[in-house]
Every structure is written in C-alpha cells, then in structure tokens.
C-alpha cells in the first residue's frame, strides 16, 4: 500500500508565545511534528508494518521543517519530501494548491494528515487537498482499517462516534486516540540518515502564478491581555464553598 503523510512542523505545545517586530519569535523555541500529524505518521507506519508498502512524509514549510521529516523517518517512514520556497505564502489556499501539484503524478492509496495544526489551528490544508485531488476525505478519525479497495473508519464528531466506510484512495485526518505515537529508536535515527530525502522548490512543481496569490492576509498580530490572579478564598472549606457561590452571584453576576 502506498501511504503519504502530510505534516507540519510546529512549536511544542508547552512553548510560550513572544511577539517581536510584528512576528512570533522563534528563537530558542522547541519544534516538534504537529501532534495531530504525529498520530498520522504513527498510523501510516503501523499500516506498513501490518500489510507492507511505502510511507512517504511530505511537508510544505521553511527549511527547519527538515528536522520534523527526519524524525518521521526515524520513527519508520521510508521517504521524505520537503517543499520549501520563499515564494509560498502561509495561506491555506496556496499551500493546498502546492501539495495538489506535488500529488498530480503520484499514485497513492491513502493520504493521512492531522486534524489541525496546533499553531495556526485552521484545519484547512488536508481537506482542501482532498477536494483538489477529487478524493473523499474523512476527518478526525480514531480508527482506520483498510482492506481491499476500501477502509473501515471510526470518526470522532464532537464526542459522538461515527462508523464509516470509504473507498480508496481517500484522505484521512487524525484525531487524538487514533494511536500512541512511538519515540524514534536509536537504530531508527541511524537508519533515517540513509533514507531518501528529496527537497523541492516551486521550480520542480507545476504551479501557476495565480495559485500563489494568498486569499487572506494578516493585518494585526497580538497577545491576549494577561489575566490577573484573583482571590484565594480563606476559611474552612464549607465556608469557602458558600463564599464562592455568593461571590459568583454578587460580584461576578454569573449566576
């Protein structure tokens, strides 16, 4: 089976955000594979271990994204592709178009991605890609069982569980609970260094100029106002509980 995983490198979720010169500062930040994409990588590797095939991880992003792809190779993916080019703006319309151009001449049974990225959080690129490729998509999956030309899927829909079947090729986005991603082993890290790693620019892909015009643009970036610590209630616990309910009524007018 031919499985592709599209992934993005993101800040670790324990990082604080600092804005410098109108941009999010990246100095000293720990980068990781977007946690939702990591489930997708793990799932692809498990499918390969069960029934063979090739797992290719693909990322559109800055040069630093190579590290995330190498981590995926160390986990067990077979090949990596980094599409990096300053002419690609951070706009979901453009990024999905670039990916679609990459996939034009590829053959695939499954494309996996994350439910959303923990940085931008828009959750658009994977679903847009499926639409551009004309294949069905199922997002937020927590179970995936391909067999023959179709796949049985379980999907989390705001806490409800949906059981679906879809014909392949199809695109899926991973939700928490799909699996428990492995850590790269030392032999895995060593092997990853010898695995095929392809770097592409726009010159290698057939993307027309109109497709590089972003559809949206940022006019302001700001941090939310810092929350102040409020009051720690005093007294014995029953008195504190009564006080809290009273404050919610009188001070906060919340109930």
């Amino acid at each position: 089976m031919n499985v592709y995983v599209i992934l993005k490198q993101t800040f670790d979720t324990e990082e604080k955000i600092v804005i410098q010169n109108g941009k999010v500062a990246e100095d000293g930040v720990k980068f990781v594979i977007n946690p939702y994409d990591e489930y997708a990588v793990e799932e692809a590797i498990r499918l390969k271990e069960q029934s063979g095939g090739i797992v290719t991880v693909v990322s559109v992003g800055p040069e630093r994204s190579a590290e995330a792809l190498r981590t995926a190779l160390a986990m067990g993916a077979d090949e990596a592709v980094l599409i990096s080019d300053d002419r690609i703006p951070a706009d979901e319309f453009v990024v999905s178009g670039v990916l679609a151009a990459y996939f034009t001449d590829k053959s695939y049974d499954l494309i996996l991605g994350g439910n959303f990225s923990v940085d931008n959080g828009a959750g658009q690129v994977a679903v847009r890609l499926a639409e551009l490729l004309g294949i069905p998509h199922i997002s937020s999956i927590i179970k995936l069982e391909p067999s023959g030309g179709s796949a049985a899927v379980r999907r989390d829909a705001e806490g409800d569980l949906e059981v679906l079947e879809v014909s392949l090729p199809a695109l899926f986005t991973a939700q928490q609970g799909l699996n428990e991603p492995r850590y790269p082993s030392l032999p895995g890290i060593m092997k990853a260094k010898k695995k095929p790693f392809q770097q592409l620019s726009l010159d290698d892909l057939d993307v027309h100029t109109g497709a590089l015009e972003p559809k949206t643009s940022q006019v302001e970036l700001f941090l939310p106002p810092a929350r102040q610590a409020g009051q720690i209630l005093q007294g014995d616990i029953p008195a504190q509980a009564a006080k809290l309910v009273e404050l919610l009524r009188t001070q906060s007018k919340a109930i």
Partner: protein
C-alpha cells in the same frame, strides 16, 4: 456592488444550534445595505426548522431534504450543496466552527477557490474591509485577518458572536432543493450518540473540568453532578485523558478543544501552558487544587486550596441551595 452571503445553518435533535444563529449574525455584521443573505439547511423533515429560520433576517432559505443527509457525510453534503452554491453564487459562506463546519468549510473553500477564516471570534467592518479576529496557538496569540479580493468561507467559534435576532413580521422565502442523484464513495454505517442530552463542550456556558487530581474515571462523578446541576458540561485536561480517566473528546487545551464559557471550574488541574491556552479566555475561572503553588491559581478569578473531593460536593450543595 451588492453581495450575497450564504449561511449553512446547523441543527441538532430537530433544533437550530445556537452557533447557527451566531454564524448568521456574523454574516449580518459583515453585510451592508443591499446585500442579500440566504441560508441553507440539510437533513430530513426540516419543515419546522425552516419555519423557525424564516423569521430571521434572511431573504431565502434553501431546504435540502434527503435520507442520505440525516447523518453528516462530507461527500453527500458537498454534493447536495453544489446546486445551491451554483444558484446563490455566494461571495461569502458562513457556518459554525463545529465538527460539521470544520469538516465541510475547507472543502467548500477549495471548491469555490475561496480564502477561509477558521474559528473566528470577532468580526468588524473597518474602512470598507471586514476584519476577522481569530486565535493562533489555541489562543496564546490572536490575529486579525482580511480576505483579499476573493470569495470567502468563514467558520465562527461557538459562544463568541451574539446570536441573530428574529425580525418581527419577516418571512423569508423557502425554496426546496432537490438532491442530485449520485453514487457516494463514503457510507455512514452507524452513529453512536454519546452526547445525547448533554451540553456540547464548546457551546457550554459552564464547564466543570477535571485533571489528574480526579485520580480515576469514577473521580469524575462529583464533577458530572455539579455540571448537571448547573446545566453545564464536563471537560478534562490532557493529564486526565492520557491517564485514561476519560475520553479524549473531553480534552481542553492546545491539543483538544478551546472553550470560552462564562464560568470555568478547574478541579485538580495544575495549569500546564497547553491547558491554559484552551481555557484562559473563559469569563470567570475558578480553580480548586490541593497545591497552593499550582500555576492555575495565577490566572483564576477565585481559588480554593483544598481537596476537590471535599470541595466539589460542597459547592454542589451550595449551588443547589441558591438555584432551588
């Protein structure tokens, strides 16, 4: 030049979802004189729903009824929407940032070659542009965005934009739309409603949330009792989910859901950065934790230092007194 707006109105258990009216209000804010607003509803037996919608400021309501639309199916919904998108030719499509909206909107955006603004929390017209505010890093930062000269798709986060109000005496035109016959590659076999009768986490006004401090699946019981009394929902931290005390569907944080309720009650949650990202925009935060040094107290409006298994039942008792 007049513009057209299309609202995909989501419903659940035969009722319009609150977020559908919030998406409609977003379109009302974005629109100007002479613009037209249309809505579309998909499902089966939608007469009363369409009737309810018709008093809102809409020119027409497209009603698409078919058995294949009873449960959400991305492919079936997209195919059914296609003739409406063709006839309305919307400049902008608005819907909720919900399980359905998150899944459907990017596909529509791709189809329309539109820009999409996801998870929008505020909309304001400014100098002839519409400015959309949305979170980054789950709310550790925010950005304001505009759409370049193109069509747009907007998903709005529940609980952030006021709901649209009905217009007295108004009657929108109801248009029944046929579903095109097509063979679907995706089949919904079964839907297990685990949330029936429960308040949706992202739409909840009050959330009672548990962390590692709840110690077990059973430990969530006092939290459920309090949430039930307050008409709220139960949430959890990543720690509680990773420990297997609850479903990942309850997780609040940078991974998981971002929530903005009126009252957030954090029980046995220390307050890791990734959790704070998902809840610190709540109006009132209450922290209950045994550890007085827990970071959650630094952002809480009210804190009680104590064992949640002692505090939560007492709180439930006090609320019960007040609420009768």
């Amino acid at each position: 030049m007049s513009r057209t707006y299309l609202i995909i109105a989501e419903h659940r258990d035969g009722k319009l979802r609150q977020v559908a009216l919030e998406a409609l209000q977003a379109a009302v804010i974005a629109s100007g004189d002479g613009d037209s607003l249309s809505a579309v509803v998909l499902g089966s037996q939608l007469d009363s729903l369409a009737g309810e919608l018709s008093s809102y400021p809409l020119s027409d309501i497209h009603v698409i009824e078919h058995d294949s639309l009873i449960h959400y199916n991305a492919e079936a919904y997209l195919a059914a929407l296609s003739p409406v998108l063709d006839s309305v030719q919307p400049d902008a499509v608005f819907t909720g940032h919900t399980a359905i909206g998150r899944d459907l909107a990017p596909a529509i955006a791709a189809k329309l070659q539109a820009g999409q603004l996801s998870d929008v929390i505020a909309i304001e017209p400014s100098d002839g542009q519409i400015v959309y505010t949305r979170p980054l890093y789950a709310g550790k930062a925010f950005e304001k965005k505009i759409v370049q000269d193109s069509r747009s798709v907007v998903t709005v986060r529940p609980n952030n934009i006021p709901a649209a109000q009905p217009t007295e005496g108004h009657q929108a035109r109801i248009i029944k739309v046929d579903t095109p016959a097509n063979s679907l590659r995706t089949v919904v076999k079964e839907v297990v409603r685990k949330t029936s009768g429960k308040v949706d986490l992202t739409e909840a006004k009050i959330i009672v949330s548990g962390g590692r401090g709840v110690k077990s699946a059973d430990g969530f019981k006092p939290l459920e009792e309090l949430a039930g009394l307050l008409g709220g929902a139960v949430g959890a931290s990543r720690g509680a989910c990773d420990a297997g005390y609850c479903d990942y569907g309850l997780q609040i944080g940078q991974t998981g859901k971002v929530v903005t309720p009126e009252i957030y009650i954090a029980c046995g949650i220390s307050g890791a950065i990734q959790h704070l990202a998902g809840m610190s925009q709540s109006r009132i935060i209450i922290a209950i934790n045994k550890d007085p040094e827990a970071p959650i107290f630094k952002i809480a409006d009210y804190g009680i230092v104590g064992d949640l298994f002692e505090v939560v039942p007492l709180l439930t008792r006090e609320f019960r007194k007040v609420l009768g």
